[in-house]
């Protein structure tokens, strides 16, 4: 009886997996088409992010937190936190089809001292590209003290998201 039971369950599982696989295959074809059409279009800005930039621009909380941690993943808004001498600014969340990326920049006495980011990219390739490209981007940005740096080759999309989000964070500084 228990063998029959498990066979039935295994059969149901195989059915579910097959369904998932066929959806994935069909979905994949449309995705590829979309991707080829979208080549060169770069990043798209997350909906509502421009409003968020204005809303969050001057919201210093004074909580003493200078850690460059971005806020929750649900928000496309930008926000800044100011402490004595040092301030953090959260850039807008930049999305593309691999996920979204949001940068937090720490500025001390007018100099960019640290850049951190959060990313929702879930596939291994995106994560590894990010893991490879972001240290380079960060050191270039700190050295240039600006978002006007060249993108990392082989990480065009990541660089675009990173630098756009960074620029929106820096735009908050008045």
């Amino acid at each position: 009886m228990s063998t029959k039971r498990n066979s039935a369950a295994a059969l149901a599982s195989i059915g579910i997996l097959a369904t998932g696989w066929s959806i994935g295959t069909a979905h994949g074809q449309t995705l590829t088409k979309t991707a080829s059409g979208a080549t060169g279009s770069g990043t798209t800005t997350a909906p509502g992010s421009s409003a968020g930039t204005k809303a969050g621009a001057n919201s210093g909380t004074g909580a003493g937190s200078s850690s460059g941690t971005a806020a929750g993943s649900s928000s496309g808004a930008a926000a800044g936190t100011t402490t004595a001498g040092s301030a953090t600014y959260v850039g807008t969340r930049q999305s593309d089809r691999w996920g979204s990326l949001q940068v937090t920049v720490t500025v001390t006495n007018g100099k960019i001292t640290n850049v951190t980011y959060t990313s929702t990219a879930g596939d291994g390739k995106s994560r590894s590209i990010e893991a490879r490209a972001t240290p380079t981007l960060k050191s270039e940005v700190v050295a240039a003290n600006s978002a006007q740096v060249s993108s990392v080759s082989g990480a065009t999309y990541t660089s675009a998201k990173y630098l756009t989000s960074l620029q929106s964070a820096l735009d908050q500084i008045r």
Partner: protein, 485 residues
């Protein structure tokens, strides 16, 4: 070998007093109707078991299917991608197993009435071992996969993720906590700690699970905002959390407030046991039957933090319930000095050591020591035609034959034969030397086609179960419940 059993209380004319008043409220059933009823009950339970099994597998398969539906099959092109994809699948399976584990301990009525709480708990432990390996594989494979793809060392990958993501740091902490819980749950280690310490460690699982939640939604492309997969994942967690909340917290609170149980008497029975009788309102709606157990929490300052699983030692009435507790540890020792009037909170009833487990018209009830208490309650609550039941009680000394007088009366009124196996055990068998050589099948000509209920100390129960297997009694007809957490 067939032994002729010489029984001190043979099922003679007196014990077959058909129609004697017994306090039993049901009309006396006929054998034929019972056979059909219990067969139906058994079929329905089998069907429920099949449906639950399919549902459980489907949750796991569904989680992997989400990955496939998202185009996961295309992410096996390079070594890095393949390893990463396997890591994602391991994480999905481990998380689905985690939800199943929680559902198994959520005391969901349909699970309890299909598997029984003890089977559910042992399944929980079995799944837990696989789940911990799945989580480790998830972490290790993803680190390796990202490293291969990015051509950097796993340590650099880890450091990068650690520096970049709070949610990742929480997830690492969650994995470490779950590892601790897993090790502390393993039987060998568990025995060295008191129940309370083990329970406290287990509570940290909830902290670990909560800590692991953010990264599932923020770091996973699969569950990114606006995707259908995210909705499924949220629903899975909401259902799991909802079941835990409803059946482990809200339902017990409602029960406790509705039934307002208070201790009415604490009476010594036998050398080191007491019967605790409680009185309350509307106990018929609690739905407890003889043989089931509840989690009892006596609301005194020293006992309020210790819920104790105790079986009923008599079928409950509309206003009273009785449990019998043997002095087995510090917690149960204190119960012996409970004062009448003490308020009681209960969770339950739980368990399938009851009429609900019956599959056949004949029944053999086998109890030893304090395990006689649930046997006695079950004897009162389960149906059989006169002559179709045998009760076998076992104790080392006559004093440890708890409730022997009550059982003798019930047997006489219901028409069940009673065997008392008193004295030292014969070698490593489950019978006393006075019954040396007797097998389960010697207690009735129909035992192979009967339900056999067994309750007593674990090693003794193992001996009975081994005998049942040797006698060729199908496992589905043998019912035992164990209280080793």
């Amino acid at each position: 070998m067939t032994t002729t059993l010489t029984d001190p209380i043979a099922p003679g004319a007196a014990t077959r007093a058909v129609g004697a008043p017994s306090g039993q409220r049901r009309p006396r059933p006929t054998a034929g109707s019972l056979a059909a009823r219990y067969r139906r009950q058994s079929t329905r339970r089998g069907l429920r078991h099949t449906l639950l099994t399919i549902a459980a597998w489907s949750i796991v398969a569904g989680s992997v299917a989400l990955f496939l539906a998202d185009g996961g099959m295309r992410q096996f092109g390079t070594l890095g991608d393949a390893v990463t994809s396997l890591g994602i699948i391991a994480g999905l399976i481990a998380t689905a197993l985690m939800c199943l584990m929680l559902l198994l301990t959520a005391r969901v009525p349909v699970i309890d009435q299909t598997l029984g709480q003890d089977r559910a708990t042992s399944l929980h432990a079995t799944i837990g071992r696989g789940m911990v390996f799945g989580l480790l594989a998830h972490g290790i494979l993803l680190l390796l996969g990202y490293s291969f793809s990015g051509k950097i060392t796993p340590i650099t990958t880890f450091a990068g993720l650690w520096a970049d993501s709070t949610d990742f740091r929480w997830a690492v902490g969650a994995t470490a906590l779950l590892g601790v819980v897993g090790i502390s749950s393993m039987v060998a280690v568990r025995r060295k700690y008191p129940y309370e310490a083990w329970f406290a460690i287990h509570l940290t699982t909830y902290a670990a699970i909560i800590a692991s939640l953010p990264h599932q939604f923020s770091m996973s492309g699969l569950f990114a905002e606006g995707k259908l997969e995210r909705t499924f994942w949220i629903a899975l967690w909401l259902v799991t959390a909802g079941a835990m909340l409803a059946f482990r917290i809200i339902l017990p609170i409602i029960s406790t407030l509705t039934h307002r149980l208070t201790v009415t008497s604490v009476v010594p029975v036998g050398p080191d046991a007491v019967s605790i009788e409680v009185r309350g309102r509307k106990l018929d709606t609690l739905g407890a039957t003889g043989g089931q157990w509840l989690n009892w929490r006596f609301l005194t300052p020293s006992l309020v933090l210790q819920p104790h699983p105790f079986s009923l030692s008599a079928a409950p009435t509309d206003t009273t319930m009785r449990i019998t507790v043997r002095d087995l540890g510090a917690g149960t020792a204190r119960l012996q000095h409970l004062k009448p009037g003490t308020k009681v909170a209960v969770e339950g009833p739980y368990g399938l050591f009851s009429d609900a487990a019956r599959t056949r018209e004949h029944v053999l009830l086998v109890g030893a020591g304090i395990g006689i208490a649930p046997i006695r309650a079950l004897l009162e609550a389960t149906d059989f035609a006169p002559g179709n039941a045998v009760v076998v009680l076992r104790a080392s000394t006559p004093e440890e034959l708890y409730f022997v007088d009550e059982v003798r009366d019930l047997c006489a009124h219901r028409g069940a034969a009673l065997h008392l196996l008193v004295g030292p055990r014969a070698w490593d068998t489950w019978v006393s030397t006075s019954y040396a050589g007797a097998r389960l099948t010697d207690f009735g000509p129909w035992v192979r086609d009967a339900d056999v209920f067994v309750c007593g100390p674990n090693p003794w129960m193992d001996a009975v179960l081994a005998d049942a297997e040797a006698c060729g009694i199908p496992r589905s007809q043998v019912h035992d419940e164990r209280f080793t957490w």
